[in-house]
Structures are given as C-alpha cells and as structure tokens.
Symmetry: C2
Subunit: 360 residues, 2 copies
DNA sequence: CTGAAAGCGCTTACAG
DNA sequence: CTGAAAGCGCTTACAG
C-alpha cells in the first residue's frame, strides 16, 4: 500500500538469480548478456510488473527522458495547435513532456525554466513569444546560461529579444506586411488595428510589419484607430467595441490575432455593423475555426502543428557553438469573405447603432 | 559545458562552510537551523544559482512533485479547456505537470500510465473518456492497481467502465436527454445524430441519453439517420455529408460533440441547406467558439476549466478505502439560434443541392 | 542545533 | 559475459 512496495531492480535480480548489474544490463540491452540469463531477467521483470524508477535512472545516468514546454496558455487555440505538434514529436522520440502555462506572467516563465532545470530535462521549449522587458531579459539570459552549462538545450518559437536561442520564427512582420498589401490591393486606405499587450514581441512585430507596408503605400493609421486589448476572444470584443466608441473611421480592421478577430466579429455584429459590408476584418494565425465563421475570416495562416514539430526538432539537434540557429516559417495570406473592397457609399451608412445597446 | 558542471548541494555546503545535512535543512526549512548558518547557506545557494536536482530529491524522499495528465489530444478544444483548468490548479499547488496525448490509441494510454508510474508521480489524471474494450480494461485495471500499490493517486474525467477510479463525471447521459427534451419542445419529431467512435464511453452515453428521452416521447431515430464519424471538425463535416447523401429526413440533427457540429454546420451550408431554416443543429460541450458561429449553436454547456480543476482536486485528496468517489457535473442546455421549430413547409424544399457540387 | 553515515534505486567503470 | 563496488545528489534517522 505504501511507496515502499515498489518493485525494484534488486527484486527482479533476486527473482532471476543474478546480480543487479546483470539485471540492469539485460533490461537495457546495453551490454551483451548470456541469452538464458537475459530471458530469466526479462521474465522476472514481467512477472513482477517491474517499472524502473525514472528518478533513479536519471540520477545514475545524469540525464532524463523529459523535455519541458512552456507556453502562455494551453487552452488558447494558438498554443493548443503548437502543443499538438510538440506532443506528436515527443511521442515519436519517446520523450516525456513537462508542460507549464505561464498565463503570460514573465516571472512564472522564469520559475518554470528553473524548475525544469531542476528536473534536468533534455531540452526546454519556449513556445510563447518573448517579453520586451529589459529586467526580464537579463534574468532569463542568466537562467538560460545555467541551462546551457547543464547541457539542457533551449529552443524557442517566436522572437525572444536579446536571448539568442535557437528559434523557429513565424514571419510575423513579413506576414503582416503581406496582409497589409493584400488589403491595400482590395482598395482600402483607412485602417484600424486591434493589438495586444505591447510587451509581447509578436504584437510588436505584427503591428510594425503592417504599418510598414502601409507606409510604403503612403498610408498611415491614425493613433486613435489603434486599440490595445487582451489576447483573447473577449479582449477582441472589448477592443472592437472601444474602436466603435471612438468612432470607427476605418474601412478595414486588422486584429493581430485570430482569437481577437473572433471577438471583434461578434462585437461588430452586436453594434449592427456587417462584415465586410460595413467594415472588413482580418486576423492572423488561421486557428482552426476561423474558416467556419460567417463570414470566414481573412488571415495569415501559420502551420501551427508544424511549428511545434520543428521547435522540438531544433531542440533535439545538438547545440552549435557560437551563434544560434534560426528557422523562419512564412505565413500565408488567406483571403476569405471577411474582407472585400471598401464600400463606395458615404460614411454615414457605416455608422454604428447607438452605444446604449448592450453588446453580446 | 557538460552535465557535470551542475552545482550540487555539496558545493553550496562547502561554500557556506557547513555540512550538506545542514545545507539541506536550511534550504528546506524542515528543521531549526541556527540563524547565521541558514543565512550563509541561503546566500551561498543564491550566489551559486543552486537548483536542487529534482531526481535526487524524488529518490531520497520517495515521492515527487509531479502529476501526470493523459488526454486524447491537447489541440482539441475540449481537452484544451480541461487542460487549462488542470494547469491552473497545478500552478496553485506547485505541482509539475507531465502531459501525454494518446491520440485515442488505447495502447498509448496504457504505456503513458506505466511511464508515469516510473516517474513516481503523485497522481495521474485520465481526462479522456474510457474505452469500451474488455481487454484494454483488464490491462488498465492491472496497471492502476500497481499505481495504487505505489501510492500514486488516480482520478478520471468521464466514465471509465470497470475501472472504479475517483471520477468527475460530466452528465453526458442526462445532458443529452435534457437536450432531446428541449428539441422535442421546439416541435421536432424527426431526428438524426452524428456520433463518434462507439468505443468511447462518452459517445455511448450521449447517444443513449438522447435516444432515451426521445423514446419517452415515443420518438425513435431511424438507424440510417445515425452516422458515425471522427471526433473532429472534418469528421463532423464528412458525417453530415454522408447524412445528406443518405437522404436527410430529419428536421433536427444532434452532433454528439461541438467540434463535429462545427463541421456539420459547414457541410450543410456547402450542400445549400440553411440552419435552422432547413434543418436545426445542436452540439454538446459548449467549446469557446460555438457561440460566435452563424447561427450560434445550441449545445449542452460543460464547465471545462472547472472540470479540470476538480479532477485535480480529487486526485489531491487522499484515497478513500474501498469505494471510489464520484462527482457529477451537470450540463446546461443552451438554446441558441441554430435550433428552431421545424419548418412547416413540405420536405421537398429542404432537399439538398445535387451532390456533384464540391463541399468546402 | 549539527554532522557523519546510511540509504533512496539505478548505472557503469573496474576487475575478474 | 558477470559481479562487487562506487557513485549519481539528495534526505533523514541516529548520535552527539
């Protein structure tokens, strides 16, 4: 009934009538063991339902079979998608996954890394994007140096400013720029952006790329048409409502994340605005559901599962001395029905219902 | 650069000029340690960036700080939601989460449990529903007995036939029955069901509950109006298309999972059928997005995150001798626009477009 | 309160 | 090929 009832290697050895060294070798297949002894050991292990104590193995071997994965929130479809790829890859390589959700708290990210270092994981995957925060970067850099010293590999998804780790980089900047050009191509000149917390590098990059491409076409977004919100469905809903409250002058709104776009779509509907009739709407990521919305959302598609597999692959490759490896993953602009040419009719017609109505 | 450069407790002890026993006690706060010595140890640990080797601790203490979580697929919104709750709870209790995705392979579920037993986790959470498979149940029962013998707690979400483990039971049967009654209340008498793989207990329960309630009203579903598909968006799309191909005679379709309903909604649209004009559609789970679809989906809401927290809480409570604990979580019928009274017009008008058109 | 020592369950040079 | 022994890094009775 208690912990001491565990079957140990010694039990197996005794049962098989050999030394624990031989039992270990037979079980691991590391060294040649006389066939009949091996058989006896295997049979004994089977009979006793022996499972090696992973901690003892890790201690004796000075290495474990685990990798650590840190994301912002597994229940967010973006991370759920990446995590799916990571889990597949882990299963293929017989690795255990220790998962940590930071809920976007930089301090928690730091403490997870140190915890995983304590677990002596083979590698740590940082799948959330970095934070634009000097102090945090410094602390993280120190922590990662300790990991490196311990032989723990590090690989990241997205840009982690000042960390120089091997990374899979979704082309947030270029993707947003390409999206902007596509929207310009539809005839839009007045844009608004729903953006996330500016400490998150992904947010910065997408906004920068979008504005850059617009600037090349001589188009500028009015400051009051850039609204910040939480990276969530409700955050998008609130941000879009805020935009409407400020007076929506744009013909096209870019939500820097699909999940925000989902909320924005609902908000526009709640305010009596049709998409794309009154306003076009585009997102980023191509999470599973956006193609099934009405209208389906224009977005920049990222191969989330593949990103997960690739960051794992990167982490499993031995470190290269000196500089860090970077793999870029392009985003693909997917034009769907949520964006169309801007309506030719006068502004008045696009004005929202009075704000006294309750949004959903 | 290599694994041997780890800072150990001995290094800290030496640096602080005390024995490793004292260093250990100071760090853990288990026993009174003279204040000045404690200070010196803490300072030394800080200076050396010491992180205890979790494996050595687990070995010496004969217990670890980890819990194992096994689900079918983290990237599925249902499990993503539950996992979110589990992660929160884990963070609150300072537990590490080892996560395994089985991709609905019973063998993999078994091997994960044994692997986690090897990790000597405190508890294992089975968040996927069980399999209706005798052989598997037998093997799992043995495996769980070994866990129990090792002091590893087990808790599950959903019904695991023949396993008698502490469980959080979403009321699949009652929820589906309540949904059926609500749909009957709208005036429907002709139903179809899109169901999942019948080895999954959740599938069995939802279908049974739905049919049961219909039977009480004297309504029966024609066998050819029950279509099986994969538990995924595309599985739902294919199942709905198959239903249309067979000749959709129902005025209302129940998809046993929201994720299937999402696919079904798209399929109906692709076939030129409007929801709920031509056919009403309902799902189950209330995953985040279904309220934002057009039309928003009627469903049975399950508090996914809370289910996650509760299964963790259950696992953390000590085992009760003898019988297993069961916590029921009711589902709430949420009527949305995807279901309405059946159209009064003749069948002809609801007939689909010819099947030669390509579905999306 | 503190330290020397044994022990947790494995692996792996080191001798045979 | 096999076994006795040391060692992985910690914790914890056991004596002081």
């Amino acid at each position: 009934m208690d912990k001491w009832s565990q079957v140990t290697l010694n039990d197996v050895a005794r049962e098989a009538g050999v030394s624990s060294a031989t039992a270990s070798r037979a079980l691991n297949g590391t060294t040649r063991v006389r066939a009949d002894l091996r058989e006896r050991v295997l049979a004994a292990a089977e009979r006793l339902a022996y499972t090696p104590n992973a901690h003892a193995q890790a201690l004796a071997r000075a290495s474990s079979q685990a990798v650590g994965v840190i994301c912002h929130d597994v229940s967010d479809p973006y991370f759920a998608g990446i995590s799916g790829g990571v889990m597949r890859a882990a299963a293929e390589h017989d690795l255990h996954v220790i998962m940590g959700s930071t809920f976007r708290d930089p301090a928690r990210e730091l403490s997870y890394v140190s915890m995983m270092r304590g677990q002596r994981v083979r590698a740590i995957l940082l799948t959330g994007s970095g934070f634009e925060d000097r102090a945090w970067q410094g602390a993280m850099r120190e922590e990662l140096a300790r990991c490196a010293a311990a032989g723990t590999r590090i690989a990241a998804v997205s840009r982690h400013h000042g960390l120089r780790v091997d990374s899979v980089l979704p082309e947030n900047r270029a993707g947003a720029a390409a999206l902007a050009r596509a929207l310009l191509g539809l005839g839009h000149r007045d844009f608004a952006v729903l953006t996330g917390p500016p400490v998150i590098t992904t947010v910065v990059d997408r906004l920068a790329g979008f504005q850059e491409a617009l600037a090349e076409a001589g188009v500028r977004i009015a400051p009051d048409q850039i609204v910040e919100g939480a990276f969530s469905r409700d955050g998008g809903h609130r941000a879009a409502s805020e935009l409407v409250a400020r007076g929506l002058r744009a013909t096209c709104v870019f939500a820097s994340t699909d999940i925000m776009a989902v909320g924005a779509l609902a908000a526009f509907r709640d305010h009596g605005l049709t998409v794309p009739g009154d306003v076009s709407l585009a997102g980023f990521d191509d999470i599973p559901v956006v193609g099934d919305l009405t209208p389906p959302l224009t977005t920049v598609a990222l191969p989330l599962e593949e990103i997960g597999r690739r960051v794992m692959a990167l982490a499993l490759r031995p470190a290269t001395a000196g500089r860090s490896r970077v793999e870029r993953v392009p985003g693909t602009v997917v034009l769907r029905a949520s964006t169309s040419a801007p309506a030719a009719r006068p502004r008045r017609e696009r004005s929202p219902r009075p704000l006294t109505e309750t949004p959903g």
